[in-house]
């Protein structure tokens, strides 16, 4: 038996995951550059003592009428240091774990580092990056025995611990503008306060939110780029389409119910397309919730878990204005519940088997 094994391998999955993050990373670089330079154009004195600002200036990028080069340099100057530090922190811990536990070195931390970087604002202090990435590798992955044996997405755990540990991290760096600290974009809080008019005054419309030229954690802003990445992951069947579709259905159904039955004030009036485009929902749904190891592993479980995530994201956004985005917390909760959901689904299957007459 088993004459043949397929050509599937972990490294193939890693390569496809990196490929799927490529459009997101490109969109992130240009949006970070755009956000930084436009903020600087409005207030040239803001954030200039930061080493990244010095880097931008030193490489000759200008906020006056910024072109392709200016955007690229300003974006890379913010993203590359964070990514490098995350890679180094992750790599060092991987090496230590590999040697201490006599396990082979797992290159999967590269994907985790990129995911974690894309979940951070461009102005995140590097010490926070080291802290979050260390937590992600050690607690998210190492203690469970490595890749494939985790029960939460390590990058998700990393951003969650940073959110909890540094609730008031934002300083005067322009890339914190429009963000509620590490919790993500403030756009939904804006909507809470003033509806679509408030979004419009912050230059957020459906189109800019879709393309991703709005403030937010680096990788989460461009829903268009995330959709391209999702296409790669769906086509290569690394993520389960049922889980992704169920999240969207849960979000749309719950948002629509609030639109019809809700009070009409705050985010209860926010339509489903805004819920899809604002905040980190798209990124979280594709790259965190659909982590193949950390999500439900039965098809009925995937439908349940996905619907749960979509519905709960809307519920928290509407009911709790102090927690404007909710995506990270909800996905964390859903990942923790995934084994329970599977347990229930499997119990039904076992009971059906027990009722057979043979």
């Amino acid at each position: 038996m088993a004459n043949y094994y397929g050509n599937n391998s972990l490294s193939r999955i890693h390569k496809l995951q990196l490929l799927s993050l490529l459009p997101v990373s490109i969109a992130a670089v240009f949006n970070v550059g755009y956000q930084y330079l436009t903020a600087l154009a409005l207030n040239p004195g803001n954030g200039t003592d930061d080493f990244r600002s010095s880097l931008v200036r030193g490489l000759g990028a200008s906020h006056q009428d910024p072109g392709f080069y200016d955007l690229l340099v300003a974006g890379l100057a913010h993203m590359v240091p964070i990514l490098l530090v995350a890679l180094i922190a992750g790599g060092v811990w991987e090496r230590i774990i590999a040697e201490q536990r006599k396990r082979p070195f797992e290159p999967g931390y590269i994907v985790i580092a990129l995911l974690f970087t894309l979940l951070l604002p461009g102005a995140a202090p590097l010490s926070h990056v080291v802290f979050g990435m260390s937590f992600a590798i050690l607690v998210g992955k190492g203690v469970f025995g490595g890749e494939g044996k985790t029960f939460l997405s390590p990058a998700l755990l990393g951003i969650a611990i940073v959110q909890i540990s540094f609730p008031s991290a934002a300083n005067f760096h322009p890339l914190w503008n429009g963000l509620a600290g590490y919790s993500g974009s403030e756009a939904i809080a804006l909507y809470h306060r003033g509806g679509e008019a408030a979004l419009a005054s912050a230059d957020i419309n459906l189109w800019s939110a879709f393309i991703g030229i709005t403030p937010g954690p680096m990788g989460t802003t461009s829903v268009f780029a995330i959709a391209l990445g999702a296409g790669v992951l769906l086509f290569s069947r690394i993520i389960a389409w049922r889980l992704l579709l169920a999240q969207v259905i849960g979000l749309v159904v719950t948002a629509t119910l609030f639109n019809i039955l809700g009070s009409g004030s705050g985010a209860s009036a926010m339509s489903a397309n805004w819920h899809l485009l604002l905040g980190s929902f798209a990124f979280g749904a594709v790259y965190l919730a659909c982590d193949p190891v950390a999500s439900s592993c039965t098809n009925p479980g995937r439908w349940i878990q996905g619907f749960f995530i979509g519905a709960l994201v809307v519920l928290i956004r509407v009911a709790n204005p102090t927690h404007p985005d909710a995506v990270i917390v909800v996905i964390l909760l859903a990942s923790i519940l995934a084994p329970l959901i599977d347990y229930a689904v499997i119990s039904v299957n076992i009971h059906a088997r027990a009722r057979r007459h043979v």
Partner: protein, 415 residues
């Protein structure tokens, strides 16, 4: 990977007469393989050098002496090869047609006991398999249903219908006999759109199944028609060529000593369908000029067949194809390295799993050897072949068939 057929021998004609199959391929040696009958403690009734007629009794099950194994050909016992713990590897017979053939008298009545006695004494009984476990059924066992697998879904396998139509009378006689060995319903499972030479009745039903990967596996048919739970019952199944053989015994008094098989695969020159002796030596069938380069020869399909090497290089019982695959180095450092052993769930596994089974929980239970959990998740419904696609697709490179058999052995021992 050799799974994509370069030229498929699936026959489009209605009967074999249109295919040039009149001249059977001749071989000098045939064999009975021990691995085809798991759980049997063979008691030999012949010795090396004995002259044996085709159809004469060579061995029996030491635990159930009514179950006998008859010779696939006339000649002399050339070699009785044993492996670890003196397990029978193969009993090889050098063919010599002049030795003759043993005749069996068909029962005069269609009574259950006489039909069973006929099948047992002629050796036809050994083609039946139970589910759960995949054993030869007990002579006095009572199945909840009997399944005839009258279709093929394996890559490069010959289509069933032309073979059945070529031996329509034998097939019909075999089906009618099987309907008589038990009060349970007999299901003849065939491809959609085929009409078989079978007369349906209350407890004899023809059931069409859609084509598709795994659609020809008895496990799929059983799950659809008489799924196995925890009640301790069993169903039986048998392949269509063995039904033809049973019919041949009933109509002509002698066993059908041939099988219609395909010889195919990416490395074979001139693939096609052939009539070959039952248990034929594969090295006789494949001479040096019939394949290219270093090859791996498999009795059965590329996915579910068994390696044909050494003393086991013979056409296996129930197999209707020989697959010749180019030998490739699959254990690249990337695969054999650290990353093995990890099960990454994805929903593609769901499509490759046997129906009604949640693959990832079952695969995890099998990996850690959790017998009770595997049973709850449906291990009793399965044998090795049902999990071949999961072994293929899972990047842990686990042989789930082997892991399943370990679990089944423990479940069987626990009784």
């Amino acid at each position: 990977m050799g799974l994509k057929p370069e030229s498929t021998p699936q026959a489009t004609t209605n009967t074999l007469s249109e295919l040039d199959l009149n001249e059977p391929r001749s071989v000098s040696r045939v064999a009975i393989l021990g691995r085809d009958y798991r759980g049997i403690n063979f008691e030999l009734l012949c010795e090396e050098g004995d002259r044996v007629t085709a159809g004469s009794v060579l061995m029996r099950d030491a635990r159930r002496p009514e179950i006998v194994f008859t010779s696939p050909g006339a000649g002399s016992v050339a070699r009785i090869e044993r492996g670890l713990r003196r397990r029978l590897v193969s009993l090889q017979i050098d063919l010599n047609e002049t030795v003759g053939i043993t005749r069996y008298t068909a029962p005069e009545t269609q009574e259950q006991s006489s039909l069973r006695a006929f099948m047992l004494e002629s050796g036809a009984w050994t083609a039946l398999r139970t589910r759960p476990f995949g054993n030869i059924p007990n002579p006095d066992g009572e199945p909840a249903a009997i399944f005839i697998t009258a279709m093929e879904s394996e890559p490069l396998a010959p289509a069933a219908l032309p073979i059945i139509n070529s031996f329509a009378a034998e097939f019909r006689a075999g089906v009618n006999a099987l309907a008589g060995i038990s009060a349970a319903t007999l299901y003849v499972c065939h491809s959609k759109g085929n009409s078989l030479p079978v007369d349906e009745s209350v407890n004899l039903r023809c059931v069409p199944f859609s084509e598709g990967h795994s659609a020809g596996l008895p496990g799929v048919h059983i799950n659809a028609l008489c799924p196995i739970g925890f009640g301790g019952g069993e169903v039986w199944h048998i392949g269509f060529q063995d039904v033809i053989s049973l019919g041949h015994l009933l109509l002509h008094g002698t066993a059908w000593l041939e099988r219609v098989i395909s010889i195919a695969g990416a490395a074979v020159k001139g693939p096609g369908m052939f009539r070959v002796p039952q248990g034929a030596s594969i090295s006789d069938l494949l001479d040096a000029g019939s394949y290219q380069g270093p090859v791996r020869v498999v009795s059965g399909s590329a996915l579910r067949g068994q390696a044909a090497t050494g003393g086991e290089a013979y056409l296996g019982a129930g197999h209707d194809q020989i697959t010749v695959l180019p030998e490739t180095v699959t254990d690249t450092p990337e695969n054999s390295g650290a990353t093995t052993g990890v099960l990454i769930p994805n929903d593609a596994l769901e499509d490759l799993a046997p129906p009604g089974i949640f693959p990832v929980p079952l695969m995890r239970a099998l990996q850690v050897g959790d017998v009770d959990r595997a049973r709850d998740l449906g291990a009793l419904e399965l044998v090795e072949e049902d999990l071949a696609l999961l072994s293929y697709a899972c990047l842990s490179k686990s042989d789930y068939g082997l892991l399943l058999r370990n679990v089944l052995n423990q479940l069987e021992g626990a009784g």
